[in-house]
Structures are given as structure tokens and as C-alpha cells.
Symmetry: none
Subunit: 477 residues, 2 copies
């Protein structure tokens, strides 16, 4: 990649992350959709909004006259919400270039320096820099570089752009079925998610699905004085703690009977796990954890199981708001990462059976006065399935083809991940179109995805562009 | 009490509640202090401000020449903060007279009606009408009625007026020690808090103390993506749930060894519990609870034990803010209601031992990186003791004397409460002065204390004046 190609690639990156893109605000998303329409139309692609009941999907397409095959790429353009009070910069949508100093802190440097200097370790800090606007900017920049050189793939390309991924892509599954004919392809390539933590070139053959659940327990109808009723009125936060504690053992393993059923690994699969250059002690040090959950023997094995994660707890008040009450309710938010073996409806049934076995009566609405008096322990269970997992065999034609492209770009085999821990809404495509799907992750794993101070390492941006250029020039199988 | 005495008593009540008295605003409190100085000086009492590092206490005194004993009365003059948007009247400091209509709603009636009519069920709605300016107005009105009749107690009186009770009386314990000599008395009488819920005349021989504790558990240093690290990084909300669940059984009984040590009841005490006319099924219906914690066999027995109440829980985000993370921390706020048998420092040691036995390492600050790596399970424990409980033996001379006075006023034995569930800052006096203390509650239990629409039932106001007149004319033991 020449300097003449690199400078516009940098401009494109800073431009794309400058648009606020929280899908809770459709007006923000509309700006992003129009930007995508313009950028692809400018390059001679066809562009079509696939209407849904809410925010549309965008399908952009470039047919190659002689091509017999079509690859369908997936990116999402929306980003996680921003709590700017927790960021080390005034605006998450005004990208900041930073370098790490000797004490490990990230210090801003003038962004103009990019015009004359390059350090692969420098990073651009902005929401969606890694998740997932950076990869889209890699694709466009790679395409432009090839076009400049008069090169094009020997296959046609469709790109589906999702603008509600961080909301769980609620309308995607139905849309994929509705627009099945338009989306028809031979292979799906997903550019989202981080490389392996070693930051080596990576291919991922699947991703966990996701479902979620909200549990609410009940104490007195309205908060009561903790002096007058402490030791008398049941406390909903205690009930919730007892219920949550009953679901896992001290090592974080789910003890709900049947939860891990049907998950087995062949010796070959275990060998693939062992080949992944996980530096678990380093990961643990970075996370600041003195031990790990013991679901699998290794990190790779652990994420091949479904999870049950408490992502939020709330009852009464904490900190300076704390007051002497027995709260009326306690709420836990949980998310469940799914693997192909774990049908979410089966898991929910197992969870319900377990909750019942703990003596709770499950309701789907806040309990009536009568239910309150009839059932000593009540819990409201709200559940929702976003989408199931997908996993493409590593020994498939698609896998072999992509490994070849990666070898050509980097001169070595990529790190191979049987299934990624995070979730991307790909199973609807896999199910509706009946095609294999593989992820080409490009961004640095320590990008603070979903957190304050999200960032993209410049070296990853550059290598991401190289990877896509290699994929686009790899003769299709 | 004659009509000629009742009318000024009503004027005094409406006057005293007309002064804003939120101790967050010292300028409001100063108006109240000056009012109290004037009203007692007008009646020939001596008045002295006991200076503290903040808002002073006021000591007013009336010596009886021939008296050999002194009673120390306690009132507080500050009130809870007002969120006027939640009140059914335009100003919480402009008293409104209300009557309950057939559908149970409280409707305003012209306050002038009080000049010619009386209904004990009518109520005055205003902040502090019950907590605790109403009782102070009862005392002054009772005193005036006796003075008019040429009567005076056969004992001297000191009154300590607290202007920061709703803030937890932060400067009171030190002040009581500093001004120990000035406060010297033989007996302490507290006029604060509601009668038994039956609204029968009540004596309370003690009140639980209060301490609190904040527990923080730790997961990854910063929140992590629940897909990438679910099943691998320990979750602080699970750790907190497991820890909290380990402290109590399914019936809400604390299982921390030693927590309930030394708490025993004689048959006589159990009989006193059983004589309290608690309508437990009605209480449970009002609270909407289908069962109670099983700490004691009755409500009265239950509040004679120390409590351990989860008053707040927080981790990650809930509701629409919920996001797919493993939170970095989880926080529980707990309050502990104390009884005389449960020294708070002993309880804290037991809790620490219990936490250690669950495999946790306790820190007092957020853990360092080194502590994170060295200890698999960490919890930060912050603790604070507001004040200890007090309890005067029911068969003490002071108890017998006061029961006689109540019998003389109402022609029957009062409801006797061995210890009240709520907390009042009396143990500093009991400890520093070495005297018994008993509460004479007067106001209706459904007075919305600490809530919007605080009120005082007129019948309780009148009977409160009768009670204090009887106490003031009861020959001291």
C-alpha cells in the first residue's frame, strides 16, 4: 500500500467515525445510511434500502460480468451508546490520535502528524473505530487501492450493512427471509470483531448467538423502613442473590441440569484449541483477574459452551443515595451466549425448571395482590432470543479458500478460531441462504469495544486493508 | 383540657410547622432555633445554645426549687426534605386541615373550622407535623395548660433540642460527651416516633441502633465484552450474589455464626410480645408479602434481633441501559439494625470471619493490580456505626413510674414495646449520662413520616397533650 493510498484511507477512517451512530436515535442512523449510499454510489455500486418495520438495511452490490460466484459481505455501521463522562476525550465522535507513554497511559498527539509520520502502535480513539466502522473503512480503502491498480475480484460482491447490530439486530432475521432472493450468494464473509489477542491474522469459523433474560424479584409492595420491617418483610435483593447464586458454582460453572448437554470435542478439535496462541496468563493480567471461571480447560474450550452472564443488578439505592429501606424489587439482567448445540428455547426451559426447583413461582407480569399472597417467592422472568449461533466446518471449501488468501497476505497460516465468543447476527443468513459463513477479524483485541475509549491500532487498520485486498484478489474456488 | 386551652394548642401547632426546617439549609434551622429560644424564654425557662462544629443543640431548662430529680426530654426540630411535587398540597410548610371521604381520600376543609368544631379523625397535613414538631407542640401546650392551673412537676426539667436528627445527628455523640455536666439528669424521656399501629397509648423502652456496610466485589478491571469473556472472566455480580446468599437462609435468618448470640427471652418477655396487639395478617396484606422472614416467632420478637438488610444493589446496567458486558464491580449497601446484645464491632468481626470463610480476601480500598492477581476473590468492605441501641428494663423504676402516668391519663395499661425497630440517637445520652431512657410515642403510625403528605391526627395531638400533662404531674419515683 502506497502513501498515496494510505492518506485517503486515514481520512476515510476519521470521517466515518465522526458521525454519531447510536441506533436508539434513528436520526443519527439516517446520516450514516446516506453517507454509505453516497460512498458506494460514487464508486459505481448499486445501492438499495431494504425496508423493515424500523431502521432499514442497506444492500450494496457490484456484479462482475464473468463471475459465477458471489460473496456476501457483512458490516454493521451503528455503534454502542456513549457515556462521555467515562471517556478520556471530550467527544467520542471526534477522533483523537494517541500514543502510549512509558507509564502505559495513552496521550493525545496532534492528528495532523498522520500526514507525515506513521507508527503502527498509534491508535485512533473514537466510538466504532473498531466496532465496526473501522473494518468498513478497510474494505472501501482496499477496494479503492485495487481499483486504482485496475484490479477487480473474479466474483461478484454483495454487501449487507446493518444499522441496528448493537441493539441486537431485532429486524434482521425477518428481513433476511423477506429479501432472501436479493441476498443470494455462495459464501458469506463477515468483517466484524477483533483478531485473536496475539494480534496475529485470524479467521473465525463461527460466532456464539445471543439471548437475554431479565429476572425481577419482589419484596414489599412499596419500599419499607428497614428499622420497622427489617427481619420481617422478605428482601427482594436477598431473594435475587439466592436465586442467582443457585445457578452457578464457585468456579462459575452453570449447575442448571442439562445446560451443557451435547457439547463434546474431538481430539482434532482439541488440537485446534491448543494451536491458538492464547497467552492466558497475560490475558488474566490485563483483565486483572487472579483466576478464571472453570467452564472449559482452556479459554478456547470455554467459549465453545453457552454462557449465563449477569450483566446488570439493581435494587434500592447505592452510594450517596443509599437510604434505610427494604426495596420493593430487585432486578437482574442476564445475557446468554449460545453455541449451535444449545437451542435457546431449550435453555430457557431448563432455567425455568431450575427456578421452580428453587421454590419460586414464575410470572410474566408484575404480580397481582392475590399472587403476592399466594406465592411465598415470586420472580418475573422476561426473555428474548436475538439470534442463534453459527459455525462453519474448518475443512470446508470456503475455509480453504480464505486460508489461502490470508497466507498470501501475511505469509503464514492465520490463527483459527472454531467459534468466537461474541455474537454477530449471521445465523439468519446461514439459515435462510444455506451458505457457509466465515469471519475475517481485523481489529486489535484490546480496542475497548463496547466500553469507553474504544480505539483502533493503526497497524491493524493497515493490515486489515492488506487482508481485504488479498481476499478480493484471491481466485474464487 | 378545656376549649380555652385547646385553641392556643392548635395555633401553636400550625405556627410551629410553618417554619421550613430542612437541616441541609442552616438558615432555615436558625429561624427554628430562635423560635424555640423565644417560646421557652417567654415561659421563664433558661435557654442555652450548645455549640458544635456545625448546627448547635439547644438546651432549655426549668428548675424546681424543691426537686431532687431531673428529667431530660429529647425532641428534634428539623424535618425531612420536601419534594413538593409529590405532596397533595401547594406548600408542605402551610398546614392544611383534611378529612377522609367515603372513598378513603383526604380532602381539605377550611382550617377555620377548627375554631368551632372538633373531630379526632381530622388531620393536619404539614412537614414535621408528626416528626417531630407535633410532639414538641404537645409538650409546650401541656406545660401551658398546667401553668394556667397553677401546677408544676415535682422534678426539674431539661430539654435537649436536636436540629440535625434527619441528617443522622452527626455531631450529637461528641456534644453529649462534651456537655455531659450540663445534661446531667436522672431519666431521659424521648418524645419522637409513632404509637403502636393499633393507635393505642404506647410506651417504648428502647430502639435499635444502626450501622451500615458497603460491599464491593471485583471482576475484570474494566467492564469486558460478555461474548469474549463470558465463561472465562469471573463476574462480580455473581460473586456478590454468592456472598450475600451465604449470609442468610431461605427464611431470611442470618447464618453467620454468632450473629444472634446472647439474645434470649424470658417467658415474661415473650408474654409482653404476645400482649402487643399486632394484627400480623393485616400487616402482611398491606405490605403484599405472602410470608415473612422467620427470625422470630412474632413481629415483636423479630425486631429484638439485629438485622442485616440489603438496602441497595448495583452492578452494570439494567433496563434500557442494559448492555452486553461483564461488569467491573458489583456493590451492595447493607444496613444493620442493632440491639443491645449486638455490639456492632463484634458483628463486623463476625461478618469479616464469615466473608473470609467464603474464600474472599477483604480489602478496605479498591484492590491494587497485585492484590487482584494474588487473591482469587476480593471484596472491599466499608463500614460505619451511627449509634448503638438502647433498652431500658421494663421493670425499672422509670418504667413503673411512666406506666403509672399513662394509666392515669388513659385509664388502662399502654401497649409496651420492648424495643422499637427504627433507630433514634439516644444511646449517646444513655452511655454518657448513665441513665435510663424511655420513649413516649404519641403520633399516629400512618402519619407518612419521611414521605410526602406527612400528617398528624387531631385525636393524637389531643391525647399527646393529655399524656404529657399526666407525666408532668406524676410524682417522681
Amino acid at each position: 500500500m502506497t502513501e498515496a493510498q494510505w492518506q485517503p484511507a486515514l481520512s476515510l477512517l476519521t470521517e466515518i467515525v465522526s458521525m454519531p451512530n447510536d441506533a436508539v436515535f434513528p436520526e443519527q442512523i439516517e446520516v450514516n445510511i446516506q453517507w454509505c449510499e453516497d460512498i458506494f454510489e460514487d464508486r459505481g455500486w448499486s445501492v438499495e434500502r431494504l425496508e423493515t418495520a424500523g431502521i432499514p438495511l442497506l444492500l450494496v452490490e457490484k456484479t462482475q460480468a464473468a463471475a459465477t460466484k458471489t460473496a456476501l459481505f457483512y458490516f454493521h455501521v451503528d455503534g454502542q451508546a456513549v457515556d462521555i463522562s467515562k471517556w478520556d476525550q471530550p467527544d467520542a465522535y471526534v477522533p483523537v490520535l494517541k500514543a502510549q507513554n512509558e507509564s502505559g497511559n495513552w496521550e493525545p498527539i496532534a492528528i495532523e502528524k498522520l500526514q507525515s509520520e506513521y507508527d503502527p502502535e498509534w491508535r485512533i480513539f473514537a466510538r466504532s473505530s473498531s466496532d465496526d466502522k473501522g473494518p468498513l473503512a478497510m474494505f472501501i480503502s482496499g477496494w479503492d487501492a485495487l481499483a486504482e491498480a485496475g484490479l477487480a475480484p473474479d466474483y461478484s460482491i454483495k454487501i449487507i450493512l446493518d444499522f441496528e447490530e448493537e441493539q441486537g439486530s431485532p429486524r434482521l432475521p425477518a428481513a433476511v427471509v423477506e429479501y432472501k432472493e436479493k441476498l443470494k450468494a455462495d459464501l458469506m464473509l463477515i468483517m466484524d470483531g477483533p483478531r485473536h489477542t496475539s494480534n496475529e491474522p485470524t479467521l473465525s469459523y463461527g460466532a456464539r448467538g445471543i439471548a437475554d433474560m431479565t429476572l425481577t424479584t419482589y419484596g414489599p409492595k412499596v419500599p419499607q423502613h428497614s428499622g420497622h420491617y427489617g427481619n420481617y418483610s422478605p428482601n427482594p435483593a436477598l431473594l435475587l442473590s439466592q436465586l442467582l447464586a443457585s445457578m452457578k458454582d464457585a468456579d462459575g460453572r452453570i449447575v442448571i441440569p442439562g445446560y451443557y448437554d451435547d457439547i463434546t470435542f474431538t481430539d482434532a478439535e482439541r488440537e485446534i484449541f491448543s494451536k491458538v496462541p492464547d497467552n492466558e496468563p497475560a490475558v488474566q493480567k490485563r483483565l486483572g483477574i487472579g483466576r478464571t471461571d472453570k467452564v472449559g480447560e482452556t479459554y478456547q474450550e470455554s467459549i465453545n459452551y453457552p454462557s449465563l452472564n449477569i450483566r446488570g443488578l439493581n435494587s434500592g439505592y447505592t452510594g450517596t443515595q443509599a437510604t434505610t429501606i427494604i426495596p420493593a424489587t430487585a432486578v437482574a439482567e442476564l445475557d446468554i451466549r449460545l453455541v449451535p448445540e444449545s437451542d435457546p428455547n431449550r435453555l430457557f426451559e431448563l432455567i425455568e425448571d431450575h427456578i421452580n426447583a428453587q421454590g419460586f413461582h414464575i410470572v410474566s407480569e408484575d404480580p397481582t395482590d392475590e399472587e403476592r399472597m399466594n406465592y411465598p417467592k415470586l420472580v418475573k422472568m422476561e426473555k428474548s432470543v436475538s439470534y442463534q449461533a453459527f459455525r462453519t466446518p474448518m475443512d470446508s471449501d470456503a475455509g480453504a479458500w480464505l486460508r489461502k488468501a490470508m497466507n498470501r497476505a501475511f505469509g503464514k497460516d492465520p490463527v483459527q478460531i472454531r467459534i468466537s465468543g461474541g455474537s454477530i447476527p449471521i445465523s439468519p443468513f446461514v439459515d435462510a441462504l444455506g451458505i457457509p459463513a466465515i469471519t475475517i477479524p481485523t481489529v486489535n483485541a484490546d480496542n475497548n469495544q463496547h466500553s469507553p475509549n474504544e480505539n483502533l491500532r493503526l497497524g491493524n487498520y493497515k493490515e486489515g486493508i492488506q487482508a481485504i485486498m488479498s481476499v478480493l484478489t484471491q481466485p474464487m474456488y
